[in-house]
């Protein structure tokens, strides 16, 4: 009995000691911060880190941002350093852009930044609830979250973004499709109800589970593009809160008189405007905020109020500063890479330069990783509604598309253009020109002209005029190869490069007949599987106007619309969603709306050999997303 008491006493003692210790460590240093910020705290220019962080910061550890299999040796990092980069277009560094993206909720694979959209994880929103019918979404903002200027983030900012920006017809002439029921252009606009300081509710007239996907990743945007805007800052440029006279001096500076909405638009910074000079001083929620944007450099520094910490309680990011120098030419980037002046480069690397990178790795002090590309880098798109009845009849025939799919020698394309790196895409079939020829003969394209090309139903040689934008260096050689390969099955194709703005304009007007483009971009789930303007402009018009304009699509296209509608109605990652995605793939394999040339493609990434927490595999863009956990080991 006595012994029992003794044990009890010891246990109590141990417990109280533990508790005491815990409470001591709690009060002393629950969170740690970069020496750069600690200095500012000491000077009294910044509140202590506990006050800057939200009540429950997002805790980053192994497998949180990147899957464990891609980054098995995640480590707590060290503070400090400047990550050097290069950019080409003024005010636009695509790698900083992706690295700084903070969606309201995050897309997950098995790590937040894995971006294989299997589900949704907390980010700025830490809790949410979806009604059974997928119509009502209740979101809860991380309590105590602050803008980069220290001002608290509350539902007032959401209400402002909704009522004063989205519902203001000067600022938002057309209500965005993303926020309409079911992601349909005629869907009812979203309704917002603010519940308390941190909770708000978005509701739709129709099921729209995909709304979570919109908030997470679609079109690569983040919180700043809709639904959350810093009211305390922006209200000084909004007519509802600031009289016009007060804005007059600023308007005059811009050469305007009373167009306050232009001033507001200029001051309101979207996710893709963060590297521009106007973005300096704009309150943000991102890991780094722009501090100095000159004509030749972009400099971003750590956001003292960033809401993520690591497992040891260190506030992220580890790296203090991002700095990017402008180069006059894209090729100059490679020069900067091989001389070791770049610490991280993703988007502007090129597979064709891999040998150069490898040869200079040691000398330049970097590693060139070959990781998965986030899209299928090339494929053929035929415009099913191009204004030519013969063309429509031929390309609308599934036998024709199957024949083309079989007539493309993917291995040749992969070997000669992608250095043998890559695989057959999911919709691809083995190369079989005999079978392709048979199919084309069957469908009535059996007559040939003097050069051996097939004659169309109108008695003229049938031609696929491929016109591609000049923005991808691989497109010209691929087009030439495709033209040659199609010749073997008697299809005449021509390849022509057109200037990118002309390409964009013709896609926009739906008048591009055939083109080469990348496909299956992970972050771009459009209302249809691809940009409808590239392949079915008139059908899509019919669909969006409910049959008032455009052309009535055939059944298989309508089926595609209906599968897509159901996908957008369901919740990403749910049983239903995954089933529908499989259904969509089966539909795609059966009807071949586009013909992809290569899947499982690779993209080189340049990382300094001094950087830690760099995944060894996974997707290029996911690595870029996880930049806040990079650190300099030396």
């Amino acid at each position: 009995m006595k012994r029992f008491w003794m044990i009890g006493l010891v246990l109590v003692l141990v417990f109280s000691l533990m508790l005491g210790n815990v409470s001591i460590s709690f009060s002393q240093e629950k969170y740690k911060e970069s020496p750069m910020l600690a200095e500012l705290v000491k000077q009294g220019k910044l509140p202590p880190v506990e006050e800057r962080l939200p009540e429950n910061p997002l805790i980053v550890g192994p497998g949180v941002l990147i899957q464990k299999k891609d980054l098995p040796d995640w480590k707590v990092g060290k503070y400090g350093g400047t990550l050097r980069s290069v950019h080409h277009s003024p005010g636009w560094n695509p790698d900083f852009y992706i690295g700084d993206i903070e969606p309201l909720v995050a897309p997950i694979g098995e790590g937040v930044a894995a971006t294989g959209v299997k589900g949704i994880a907390p980010n700025i929103i830490d809790k949410w609830e979806v009604s059974k019918d997928n119509k009502v979404f209740t979101f809860h903002i991380r309590e105590g979250l602050k803008w980069s200027d220290g001002y608290p983030v509350t539902t007032e900012d959401v209400q402002f973004a909704y009522e004063d920006v989205l519902l203001n017809d000067k600022l938002t002439p057309i209500f965005p499709v993303k926020l309409r029921s079911g992601y349909k252009s005629d869907g009812e606009p979203m309704k917002l109800k603010v519940i308390d300081k941190y909770t708000f509710e978005c509701s739709f007239a129709e099921p729209y589970g995909g709304f979570l996907l919109q908030l997470a990743i679609n079109q690569w945007g983040d919180y700043s593009d809709f639904l959350l805007k810093p009211k305390h800052y922006l209200k000084q440029f909004h007519i509802k809160y600031t009289p016009l006279e007060k804005m007059q001096p600023m308007l005059k500076e811009m050469g305007l008189t009373n167009e306050w909405w232009q001033l507001f638009n200029m001051k309101d910074i979207n996710s893709w405007e963060r590297c521009t000079s106007q973005a300096v001083g704009f309150p943000m929620l991102t890991a780094w905020i722009p501090t100095s944007i000159t004509q030749s450099t972009i400099i971003m520094e750590r956001n003292p109020y960033y809401f993520k910490v690591d497992t040891a309680g260190n506030q992220l990011p580890y790296i203090d500063r991002l700095s990017s120098q402008q180069v006059q030419d894209v090729e100059m980037m490679n020069m900067k890479v091989i001389t070791g002046e770049v610490d991280f480069l993703r988007e502007n690397t090129s597979l064709a330069k891999m040998a150069v990178y490898k040869a200079n790795e040691e000398k330049g002090g970097f590693r060139a990783l070959l990781v998965d590309h986030h899209l299928d880098p090339s494929g053929l798109e035929l415009n099913f509604t191009y204004n030519d009845p013969v063309w429509r009849k031929v390309v609308g025939d599934i036998r024709f598309r199957r024949a083309i799919n079989m007539g493309i020698n993917r291995k040749e394309i992969i070997d000669s253009i992608y250095y043998g790196i890559g695989g057959i895409p999911e919709t691809g079939v083995p190369y079989n020109p005999e079978e392709a020829n048979k199919l084309l003969d069957q469908m009535g394209l059996n007559k040939r002209d003097n050069d051996g090309f097939r004659i169309g139903p109108d008695g003229k040689t049938f031609v696929i005029p491929i016109e591609y934008g000049t923005f991808v260096p691989e497109f010209p050689p691929i087009s030439e190869l495709v033209v040659e390969q199609l010749k073997k099955i008697g299809i005449k194709a021509t390849a022509k490069a057109i200037e990118i703005s002309l390409w964009g304009q013709r896609v926009g007007s739906g008048t591009l007949q055939a083109t080469i483009m990348w496909m299956r971009d992970l972050g771009n789930e459009s209302p249809w599987t691809w940009d409808p303007n590239e392949i079915i402009p008139q059908y899509y018009l019919w669909y969006t106007t409910r049959g008032k304009q455009g052309l009535e699509p055939p059944k298989w296209v309508k089926d595609g619309f209906s599968i897509n509608e159901k996908i957008w109605a369901s919740i990403p990652g749910s049983e239903e969603y995954n089933r529908l995605k499989r259904e969509e793939l089966a539909w795609e394999k059966q009807y071949l709306p586009v013909i992809s040339f290569i899947g499982k493609a690779k993209q080189p990434i340049i990382v300094s050999s001094k950087l830690g927490n760099i995944p060894r595999s996974g997707r290029d863009i996911a690595i870029n997303y996880s930049m806040e956990q990079f650190f300099f080991t030396k």
Partner: protein, 331 residues
């Protein structure tokens, strides 16, 4: 003379007006506008801009207004010294030019001095010692300099320096000075880097100038007045420098017209290859991106400078060469 200058200055007004319309229209000619280029740039990175966003941007930049209103707005601001706003850079054209102009002018003037200081003596020497060994050597170098484009030379040198010494010769400043404000250290750092672009940009200019100077002088020294001067017993130095050289230099003076514009824009291709922040690459980028106010304003300034340069060279010529009259033949 004064009358002549005033008349020329008055002719500027309609000329500049026509030029401004032409440069504005040319920029608008290709399909699309600055916004389509901007949207495509984002699309290349995977960012899809929605219809709503496009309509918002169109009205933000005033691209929904008819062309003549855009033109009038631009020309009105231009007259008040406001060169407009660059969509691509997100800042005013004045700001962009102010940052790049001093460096551009500095490099251009230095290059010009370099070119003249080397080319003139060599040209004179070659002419006086025609078909001598040195004449052949200079001629060969001159032809190489003329035929090898500057950007190619830049690329070769860049590769050579990297391969041999492992240094990157691009840019005008070491990385620690790029953003630093001007100081003695920065100037010294620049002087360390500037000689290479100077030689590359100057190369073809030097070669061309040597050829022109040589040919002109050769023409002159065979003329009778030279023989007369010699016969009168003047020293060789005076014979050559007082008469034929002065006349041989005339064609060079008339090139000042284009030189002024050249000084302003800098050598675009070499600047791109060597990554030098001059005005040339900005003009190229602005034209490609249909950044109308930036491209339009630079084109306008270039044309104005060309006109002024032509006037200056005309005046200089008239002053140097009394044979030139002011279009008042018969009076």
């Amino acid at each position: 003379m004064l009358n002549y200058i005033i008349r020329r200055l008055l002719m500027f007004i309609p000329l500049l007006l026509i030029l401004s319309i032409v440069s504005f229209v040319i920029i608008q000619l290709p399909p699309g506008d600055m916004l389509t280029t901007y949207i495509m740039r984002l699309k290349m990175s995977g960012v899809q801009i929605s219809e709503e966003e496009i309509s918002r941007l169109t009205s933000l930049y005033g691209l929904d207004k008819p062309l003549y209103i855009q033109y009038l707005k631009w020309i009105g601001n231009l007259l008040r010294g406001n060169l407009g706003y660059s969509f691509l850079w997100g800042r005013t054209v004045n700001e962009i030019l102010a940052a790049r102009l001093p460096l551009t002018i500095f490099i251009s003037i230095l290059t010009t001095i370099f070119v003249w200081a080397i080319a003139l003596p060599i040209g004179i020497y070659s002419a006086l010692h025609q078909y001598s060994v040195f004449d052949y050597i200079f001629t060969s170098i001159g032809f190489v300099g003329l035929s090898v484009p500057g950007f190619l030379l830049a690329l070769i040198l860049m590769w050579f320096f990297y391969n041999q010494f492992g240094i990157n010769i691009t840019g005008l400043f070491s990385s620690q000075f790029v953003n630093a404000s001007w100081s003695l250290a920065k100037v010294l750092d620049m002087l360390k880097h500037i000689w290479l672009p100077l030689i590359i940009i100057g190369m073809s200019g030097t070669a061309g100038l040597i050829r022109t100077m040589r040919a002109n002088l050769l023409d002159e020294i065979r003329k009778q007045y030279v023989i007369t001067a010699r016969a009168k017993g003047l020293t060789e130095k005076i014979v050559i420098f007082k008469y034929p050289v002065r006349i041989a230099i005339n064609p060079l003076i008339s090139t000042i017209g284009w030189m002024l514009a050249g000084i302003f824009s800098g050598e675009a291709l070499v600047s791109i290859v060597l990554n030098i922040q001059t005005v040339g690459p900005v003009l190229l980028q602005a034209t490609l991106g249909q950044d109308m106010y930036l491209a339009g304003s630079i084109t306008m300034i270039l044309s104005t400078l060309t006109i002024i340069g032509t006037l200056i060279s005309d005046i200089l010529l008239a002053w140097l060469d009394p044979r030139i009259r002011y279009g008042e033949v018969g009076k």
